[in-house]
């Protein structure tokens, strides 16, 4: 009932909001999104409300998204979901336009972490907001509550000899070097100074020697965790993995280490050739509502920017992913580290 009255109170507000929406009827909104971001039922509800038609195109990789948007200078889509790191090249190429945050009324419903958009690297350029945070996933640590009595509070736990052979790490060069940098107290894990490469390499060799193995797929990590008596897991897939493990019956906890957790943040951006920016903004505003937000959490196991998660403690630091200094260098070194070479041999080439 209380909620009902609250709704009544905001009714005049809604009227104000609905009025311009009436002008959207008959328009077409062309959406490019990841699977699960624009489910048919959610799209239908938006269409019924606005009278506009929504055309959803799904992509499954950053590269495909870049191809689709950059081809024809973004003329084929109005609005798309992109992570903060990827967003930068779209801004540089002038493919996206600033968003009128005043039109996104539901920004107010987002959790505190997203209130200051300037604090999220890459969203604001020259005072203009280029994307609205929508969903995110952080790469915290999952631990076996039966083996690890005190929740680990640092990324360095991955190197802890107590968990030797019981650590699962991710087989990914970019994130692993960022992890190494964080574990050594570097402020910006996305930029490794020239002098630091040997140090980071040694750090990852040490990680190699402490882990059971490196996984690639979420399901693989669950199999290994359950079958190999793993104590600690670097959750590259975040709460998605947590959900899988809990479903598999594991007694696991999830922490954001004190160094912070790497996290990707998907935001909605509007292209330069959007036919109707008001419609695109209405779409973004709509997706921040309760129903679409809960769909993200319940159907996809992803975090919603409007729903506080019980797995987070206040003050948990999320480090939004940014482009790294040299993808190829990280990849080259990582492959050699993974293959089992000793330090000298890793650095030799």
């Amino acid at each position: 009932m209380i909620r009902f009255f609250r709704r009544l109170c905001i009714f005049p507000l809604l009227l104000v909001a609905v009025f311009p929406i009436a002008a959207l009827a008959g328009e077409t909104l062309r959406v490019l999104a990841w699977p699960g971001y624009a489910d048919a039922d959610l799209v239908r509800a938006f269409e019924q409300r606005t009278g506009a038609r929504v055309e959803v195109t799904l992509i499954d990789s950053d590269d495909v998204m870049w191809q689709k948007i950059s081809r024809n200078k973004a003329a084929d889509f109005d609005v798309f979901a992109v992570n903060t790191a990827e967003l930068q090249r779209y801004i540089k190429q002038g493919l996206v336009v600033p968003i009128d945050t005043g039109a996104i009324h539901n920004l107010a419903t987002q959790v505190a972490r997203f209130h200051d958009l300037k604090a999220i690297p890459g969203l604001v350029h020259d005072g203009a907001v280029y994307a609205i945070p929508y969903t995110y996933s952080d790469m915290g640590l999952i631990y076996d509550r039966n083996q690890v009595k005190t929740p680990p509070d640092s990324i360095t736990s991955l190197w802890d000899p107590r968990y030797s052979g019981k650590v699962l790490a991710y087989n990914g060069s970019t994130h692993n070097f960022s992890l190494a940098a964080l574990s050594l107290g570097r402020a910006n894990p996305f930029h490794i100074a020239d002098k630091d490469w040997p140090l980071m390499t040694r750090r990852l060799i040490a990680l190699r020697r402490n882990v059971l193995t490196f996984y690639t797929e979420p399901s693989e990590s669950v199999d290994l965790f359950m079958g190999q008596h793993v104590a600690l897991l670097f959750a590259n897939y975040g709460t998605q993995q947590l959900k899988l493990l809990r479903e598999a019956g594991a007694n696991v906890g999830y922490v954001i280490p004190r160094e912070g957790a790497l996290a990707w943040l998907d935001c909605w951006a509007i292209t330069r050739s959007a036919h109707n920016r008001a419609l695109a903004e209405a779409w973004i505003d709509y997706l921040l509502e309760q129903a679409p937000s809960m769909a993200l959490v319940n159907r996809q196991g992803l975090a919603s920017t409007t729903t506080p998660s019980p797995d987070y403690r206040p003050g948990d630091r999320l480090i939004w992913l940014q482009p790294v200094e040299d993808v190829d260098r990280r990849s080259h070194l990582w492959e050699r580290i993974l293959s089992g070479y000793k330090f000298e041999k890793v650095m030799a080439q």
């Binding site: 020697r209 059971l212 193995t213 050699r336 293959s339 089992g340 000793k342």
Partner: protein, 573 residues
């Protein structure tokens, strides 16, 4: 266009025959085709099982090599106390084994200690075998084939996932499809000191698997999740290595049961997607991996293009088609014959019926038949007999009527109408043949008193006898007629001269003069006879009749009972 019964009957029988033959042929073809496909599937299944057994055999051979190495005292000793000479011996042994087994990319002795440090390692590098030493040796403890194998008991084999080997520095084996087979090295106290690992070249094994297969066979292999490892299109293999899963159960949905272990084999006829234009039959089996391995099973499949399978069926089909056509032809011929057998008696009956008014006989009617046609013929014959009889009666009546119309009822002599007809014809003939004829008018002298005194019956009897005597006095070709009352007329044809006519007349007059016995009355009568001749006394009936009548009256005037030949008044002297 109207079609006769025979045509329709033929058509119906032919259609029935063709339909029967056609449907039987099609059914036979269909069933045989199904059997061919099934047998092809069975053959594929057998071949697939053989392949699976070959893989198992290869794995077993590698396992026995591993067992030898796992218990090899030098290996144990090396892992306990590294020694260059021993390493050399082990390396030599590895080299020998790799020479004997071209499918081995790499053989290694790896220590449990030092993070899984490689102790002895031989790589295949092109055609040569390369011993890897020093800084090139790597720590492999974080690879499943090391940490999983270390957990096994002596003599057991571990099989890794089948994957692209991305371990750096692996020479020929790098970035190639590889499976690692490993066994623990266990000392006498049961302590596991390390592992021996053989990297098996899967391309080699795939080539070996394909080698003995007929060319048109398509070979498929997938891991326990269904990810393709072998596919006729190489771009479909190891998709997971490129971040894109390409699954056998997506291409062949029926294989899902094999992937999930619900079935140990599945037989498929694929016609969708890639196989829309070139359908295949396929057999997939799930070969359970019998050693410790993350690959619970290997999915193996063989497919054969449907056209190859159906080539036999096409032969069968064309044979069946020929047979069906032959049967159809026979059916048509039989239909024609049968239709004719039924319609021929009908047609002959029609012909007989059509001839009926002319022919009086009904020969050829199949009355002797015992079937419906015989019944019809008999009914028809009865009807025909009845009609014939009625016709004959009718004809008789007509003839009698005709006779009555042309003859005198009392004497039976032709009447005036018939006489006129005959004289016309005789005149025409005489004119044509330039011959002579005579017309005689005869009148019974004093007949009226007889009639009045003795009664009509006696008069009639007299006239009848009179007529009879006249008839007997003339030739058959001549005509005697009664004109009514006591007047008689005679036509004599073809007389030579007037004397002939006078002779006949005289003969008649004498015959008449004989007494008549009429119911006891002996009557004596005479006749007056007038004669006119053609062409002397007239050219036509009227003239001749008139002149003969005049001559007769002349005879009466001259005293009756005499013959008078007409004479023209100018002829009278």
């Amino acid at each position: 266009m109207k079609f006769g019964l025979a045509f329709r009957f033929t058509l119906l029988l032919a259609v029935i025959g063709v339909l029967a033959a056609g449907s039987t042929g099609y059914y036979a073809y269909h069933v045989s085709r199904g059997m061919l496909v099934d047998s092809a599937k069975d053959e594929l299944l057998t071949a697939t099982s053989v392949l699976a057994q070959r893989i198992v055999q290869s794995r077993k051979e590698a396992s026995s090599n591993l067992q030898i190495l796992g218990g090899y005292p030098d290996a144990i000793a090396e892992l306990e106390h590294p020694d260059r000479a021993r390493e050399q011996e082990i390396a030599t042994l590895f080299s020998l084994m790799m020479k004997a087994n071209p499918g081995y990319y790499e053989m290694r002795l790896i220590a449990a200690a030092d993070h899984g440090m490689e102790r002895v390692r031989i790589d295949r590098d092109g055609d040569r075998l390369l011993r890897v030493t020093g800084d090139e040796l790597q720590e492999k403890g974080h690879y499943p084939y090391v940490y999983e194998t270390l957990k096994l008991s002596a003599g057991m084999t571990y099989m890794s996932r089948i994957a692209i080997n991305h371990e750096q520095g692996a020479h020929s084996g790098q970035d190639r499809p590889t499976v690692q087979l490993a066994t623990p090295v266990v000392d006498r106290q049961g302590v596991t000191l390390g592992v021996v690992v053989i990297n098996v070249d899967l391309n080699g094994m795939f080539a070996m698997l394909s080698a003995d297969l007929p060319k048109e066979y398509l070979l498929f292999m997938a891991n326990s999740n269904g990810d393709y490892l072998i596919h006729p299109d190489p771009s479909q293999t190891f998709g997971f290595d490129r971040g894109r899963r390409i699954l056998v159960q997506d291409e062949f949905p029926a294989t899902a049961d094999v992937v999930q272990g619900k079935a140990d084999h599945v037989l498929i006829e694929a016609r969708a997607g890639r196989y829309a234009n070139s359908p295949v039959v396929a057999a997939f089996i799930g070969q359970v991996v019998q050693v410790a391995s993350p690959e619970h099973r290997i999915i193996l499949g063989l497919a054969q293009p449907l056209p190859a399978v159906l080539a036999k069926s096409d032969l069968l089909g064309s044979t069946t088609l020929r047979m069906v056509l032959a049967i159809c032809l026979v059916c048509i011929v039989l239909a024609v014959l049968l239709a004719r057998a039924v319609t021929r008696p009908l047609n002959s009956m029609i012909a007989i019926v059509q001839n009926f008014p002319d022919g009086h006989r009904a020969e050829g009617l199949p009355v002797e038949r015992n079937d419906e046609i015989g019944g019809l013929a008999r009914s028809f014959n009865d009807m025909r007999t009845q009609i014939s009889r009625q016709m004959a009666d009718l004809k008789q009546s007509r003839l009698e009527l005709e006779h009555q119309a042309q003859h005198d009822a009392l004497t039976g002599l032709p009447n005036r109408a018939l006489f006129d007809d005959r004289i016309k014809k005789a005149l025409a003939a005489a004119q044509r043949d330039n011959t002579r004829l005579a017309v005689m008018f005869i009148d019974v002298d004093r007949f009226k008193p007889i009639n009045d005194n003795l009664g009509h019956a006696v008069g009639d009897l007299l006239l009848m006898e009179f007529a009879s005597r006249i008839r007997h006095a003339i030739r058959d070709a001549d005509t005697a007629a009664r004109f009514g009352g006591d007047e008689f007329v005679i036509l004599l044809r073809n007389i030579q001269d007037p004397g002939d006519a006078l002779n006949v007349a005289e003969k008649i007059r004498l015959a008449v003069n004989q007494a008549f016995d009429c119911e006891g009355h002996m009557l004596v009568v005479s006749a007056s006879i007038g004669i006119a001749l053609y062409p002397e006394h007239g050219a036509d009936t009227i003239e001749l009749s008139k002149h003969a009548d005049e001559a007769m009256y002349q005879a009466k005037e001259q005293g009756r009972n005499r013959v008078v030949l007409f004479e023209h008044p100018s002829d009278t002297p």
